[in-house]
Point group: C2
Chain length 304, copies 2
């Protein structure tokens, strides 16, 4: 299955014209997912050619302004364009109240339904599950209640081997049995072995999104069990401001890289950069010294 | 006194990367005034070099999302930068409730005070007055309660004529009398005529902001009494969509120009353009055919 991630905002609390606040758009496992929605996200979606109209799920990590202020405008604009499909919003308690009061005083009547799914307080939760995708959420360590997410493909059925020309002789009902890794015995008692007729499909892919948190090595350990492919981890500061990172409940680029190492991720994306850093190359270098396969998740970057 | 107006957003309900939603920054009569604050205003302020930190007044016309969604982020960012001066916000009922619930759930504690001044329901009100500036508000005709504004310099005292060398013989207490246009009689009974010793100062300047409304010729008539110099009037549609303008409680470029003619304004700025218009020249031409001194209030434009 395809994985396409577009970075819509890579800034932190104070946005700049070059770095909008946090927002990412993920096309994955038959879903169109918005992760956080800082101010200006709807314009960033246009700027970077994202299909906002197909969006079916929104995940909001926490209620600091730089992570959700773009949502009321985006929701209103989709309504003006005549959206009818419901939109599922996974969020902390409070977001619905915030939207309700705006739409009340603005007399905004949406053309579609918002379905709110409020995060529970536990350290780890399954937020969503269907035949293609599961989404887990994890408690992070920030000033305000904040959660990270893992988007994970479901294990996909095995594929029929193309080189087995006698596969055409398989009874129709055998296919799903063999693709699920089981042997099939036909009405004449003949056994068709799954191993002979099928090969494994692609390994299920997973993407983890970790923003606004102190460095949490214990969570990185937990992620090692989940098998993370691509990891996004906030890197608000460089290593010389580690003290400041701790005081503001944020992480450094080096800590993000250490998290990637412990979790066994294949690839690390860093973002949520403090506006003090004009040139991000030194920060990238700090992270790459610890975890070489690191990339900058700057505005407009696309990862596949 | 100087007048400097920066257009931060010229779009309507649906913003685009070229046209942000409504926002203008006015430096005038010793005040730094933000008029409406659509989503993304804080970034537009940086983009166009506006001194957001000196802002002392905000006027919000109405609570449709494209006119206020940028305010929570801007207010939060000013707090992160350590602002201590209070900020006066002139707005419809509801805005304070909207901000309160966001700051409550986001645990945002501002470093400065917000002072809310809620609009009354009357057709015309004085919202603010000091020695340099008065601000009037007017009821417009939109789907939602919406107000327009006139920012007017106070009448400034006359100036002493430089060529009257005998002005140095004037008793000190005569100056303010003569500058206020009255004659002064000194202790010896001599009359000093104001006309002889003073000339008029610059005519007080005024700026009117009219957004989101049906065409209101009766208001244009009222404006003729006030003497408007520069008029901003929304022009969401061109003339062929006059029907649509009426149905959505908006105006056309021709109506904006007619408003300018009736009000006797010197200069017309049009904005709040529907996103359907990529090229605005035909719209400008339509307005100029009725009122020649018309200009497009596009993002980043500056008027002095």
């Amino acid at each position: 299955m395809s994985f396409e991630l577009t970075i819509l905002g890579s800034g932190s609390a104070t946005p700049t014209p070059e770095r909008y606040p946090s927002a990412q758009f993920l096309v994955f496992a038959d879903h169109y997912i918005l992760i956080d929605c800082g101010e200006g996200t709807q314009v960033q979606m246009m700027r970077y050619g994202v299909k906002s109209f197909r969006m079916d799920m929104v995940f909001i990590s926490h209620l600091h302004p730089d992570h959700f202020l773009g949502l009321p405008g985006l929701i209103s604009s989709l309504s003006l364009k005549g959206r009818t499909e419901p939109l599922d919003i996974y969020c902390p308690k409070g977001l619905q109240e915030i939207l309700d009061v705006q739409f009340l005083f603005g007399e905004v009547h949406l053309s579609y339904e918002l379905r709110f799914h409020i995060f529970k307080d536990s350290s780890e939760n399954i937020e969503f599950e269907d035949k293609n995708l599961s989404v887990l959420s994890f408690e992070l360590s920030h000033r305000l209640a904040c959660r990270g997410f893992v988007f994970k493909e479901k294990k996909t059925p095995r594929k029929i081997k193309k080189e087995r020309t006698d596969a055409s002789k398989l009874p129709p009902e055998a296919y799903s049995v063999l693709r699920n890794g089981k042997d099939y015995i036909d009405t004449e008692g003949k056994t068709w072995h799954s191993e002979d007729y099928t090969i494994p499909n692609d390994t299920p892919f997973s993407y983890a999104y970790i923003t606004d948190t102190l460095y949490m090595p214990q969570l990185a350990n937990r992620f090692a069990d989940i098998e993370i492919n691509t990891l996004y981890h906030e890197a608000t500061f460089m290593n010389d401001l580690k003290e400041k990172a701790i005081n503001t409940f944020h992480s450094t680029a080096v800590e993000a890289a250490e998290f990637a190492n412990i979790s066994g991720a294949n690839r690390l994306l860093i973002g949520h950069f403090s506006s003090r850093y004009k040139d991000l190359e030194p920060m990238l270098q700090e992270a790459r010294d610890v975890f070489p396969n690191t990339f900058l998740a700057v505005d407009g970057a696309r990862f596949e």
